[in-house]
């Protein structure tokens, strides 16, 4: 009778999983950068004076955040066969989360008291300067924990990149499991690695939240 849990097999798989985990981390970081920047851009576009810009941006945000990231990955993957899976993966994941983060920024910008705008006007600060020096620093500071929450969520969504053959951790686990006809060890370890990585991070976000007085 075969052992239920095979330590040898687990030992063999671990280096592969960790190697995959590096890809997972890299994907999380790059996708976060995309989301954090693009999210702000989307939020600003949704505040422009031009309705011709606002409406399509809003439609884009609603559409992207209401449809599965996994299908979005498939779609972009097959439409741009020339790009590397990793590039496509982090871009799509980043855009997907940018739509969430745009809502975060929006709330943050709306949360800056009206008096701040009025004070900037009273000082005759130009509009661009008002944004950069007065509004955004306050807004961004307030939304940092929320952005952190979405980064953690994105981290847990990186396995979706496996469907377009990005060699992240779950891809490695699936391949290894398939090769050895045994999935218990690899998926248990993958789950454990996720937990070990995400739980402390969420504690950090919580600390940040407390520090910023939420």
């Amino acid at each position: 009778m075969p052992k239920v849990w095979d330590w040898d097999l687990a030992g063999q798989a671990l280096p592969l999983l960790l190697q995959g985990f590096l890809v997972t981390l890299a994907a999380t970081v790059v996708a976060s950068v995309v989301a954090i920047i693009l999210g702000l851009v989307l939020a600003m576009l949704r505040r422009t004076r031009f309705a011709a810009v606002r409406a399509p941006v809003r439609a884009f945000v609603e559409f992207v955040r209401s449809t599965p990231v996994m299908v979005q990955l498939f779609a972009v993957y097959v439409v741009f066969p020339g790009l590397s899976p990793f590039t496509i993966g982090v871009t799509v994941l980043g855009i997907h989360y940018a739509t969430y983060m745009s809502e975060v920024y929006r709330a943050g910008i709306d949360g800056v008291p009206k008096g701040q705008w009025e004070a900037a006007t009273a000082l005759s600060l130009p509009r661009g300067r008002t944004w950069r020096a007065v509004i955004l620093p306050q807004a961004v500071r307030n939304v940092l924990p929320a952005l952190g929450n979405y980064v953690i969520s994105m981290f847990k969504d990186t396995p979706f990149l496996a469907v377009i053959t990005v060699h992240e951790m779950v891809f490695q686990a699936t391949t290894f499991g398939g090769d050895h006809f045994k999935y218990l060890e690899v998926f248990t370890m993958a789950a454990a690695i996720f937990l070990i990585a995400s739980y402390p991070t969420s504690l950090l976000v919580r600390r940040l939240e407390k520090r910023l007085g939420h």
């Binding site: 599965p68 498939f74 739980y199």
Partner: protein
């Protein structure tokens, strides 16, 4: 495009049954998640530290590990331990239920915590038992606050259902891939699929908005039916999807937690020290 449309009209029957599967996975997962959310959410408010501990562990575990991994674990790894879930669809429903039930538990807990303390006290002054306080007074009020975050989780669940196609379930995504290989119309197939998901998401949002209107009207805060057609609410805190323990909904501080347990169980009422 032309061949895509003609193939589409031919596969209409298949797409219909795939749609049913996707909806089944969504609704089945949502029902299980709802039940678990209430069970775990109420356990997390228990006055018994052991009960709270069990609930917290389960919640953190299923929030902290990826849904993708959970589904694969249930489908590929669990049989090794001697449990084989009879169908892949059931497997997916269980995975969705566990994962979103854990997120939902934080919604339930947060919403119950958000009911003003005065309401607990009003119920105690009328000599209601702890169970009656919860059932007659607190939950009917907390429920309203749960609906928008539940809506977000429900859409999130719908958006996770393409995972089913990875464990051999012939859901919409699976069917779209069939369509794609039959027509070679890759872009159209996936665009069609995205539009179908978008429509499904919008229908679910309409239903949840209607539910919210009804619930609000019962609290005398009627907004009428105007609000029903709006889009799903944003979650500018990221907490509904966020992280383990911490990111969780309205956080209760230890002191408050102590109060809350006595509020819930009422042995002598909220033990003061609320500040």
């Amino acid at each position: 495009m032309g061949s895509f449309l003609s193939q589409l009209s031919q596969s209409w029957g298949n797409i219909g049954s795939a749609l049913v599967i996707t909806v089944e996975g969504t609704i089945g997962g949502a029902i299980l998640a709802l039940v678990l959310a209430f069970v775990l959410g109420l356990m997390a408010l228990s006055r018994f530290v052991v009960v709270r501990g069990v609930a917290r562990t389960i919640i953190e575990f299923f929030r902290g590990t990826s849904l993708y991994v959970q589904l694969f674990w249930l489908y590929f790894a669990l049989p090794v331990l001697g449990f084989k879930i009879s169908s892949a669809l059931l497997c997916a429903i269980i995975a969705f239920g566990l994962n979103f039930g854990a997120y939902g538990a934080e919604v339930v807990r947060g919403a119950i915590n958000a009911v003003p303390r005065a309401q607990w006290e009003g119920a105690i002054a009328l000599n209601m038992s702890p169970f009656q306080r919860m059932r007659l007074v607190i939950l009917p009020q907390a429920w309203v606050a749960m609906i928008p975050p539940f809506n977000n989780l429900l859409i999130q669940l719908l958006k996770s259902t393409p995972l089913m196609s990875l464990v051999t379930i012939a859901d919409l995504t699976f069917e779209a891939q069939q369509l794609r290989s039959a027509t070679g119309q890759t872009a159209w197939s996936y665009l069609f699929l995205l539009v179908v998901y978008f429509i499904l998401a919008y229908i679910l949002t309409l239903l949840m908005n209607a539910l919210e209107s009804v619930a609000k009207a019962r609290l005398g805060r009627g907004t009428g039916l105007r609000g029903i057609f709006r889009m799903r609410p944003a979650d500018p805190t990221g907490k509904s999807l966020g992280a383990g323990l911490a990111g969780a909904g309205t956080e209760i501080e230890p002191v408050e937690a102590a109060n809350l347990t006595s509020k819930t169980m009422g042995a002598g009422g909220p033990g003061g020290g609320g500040v």
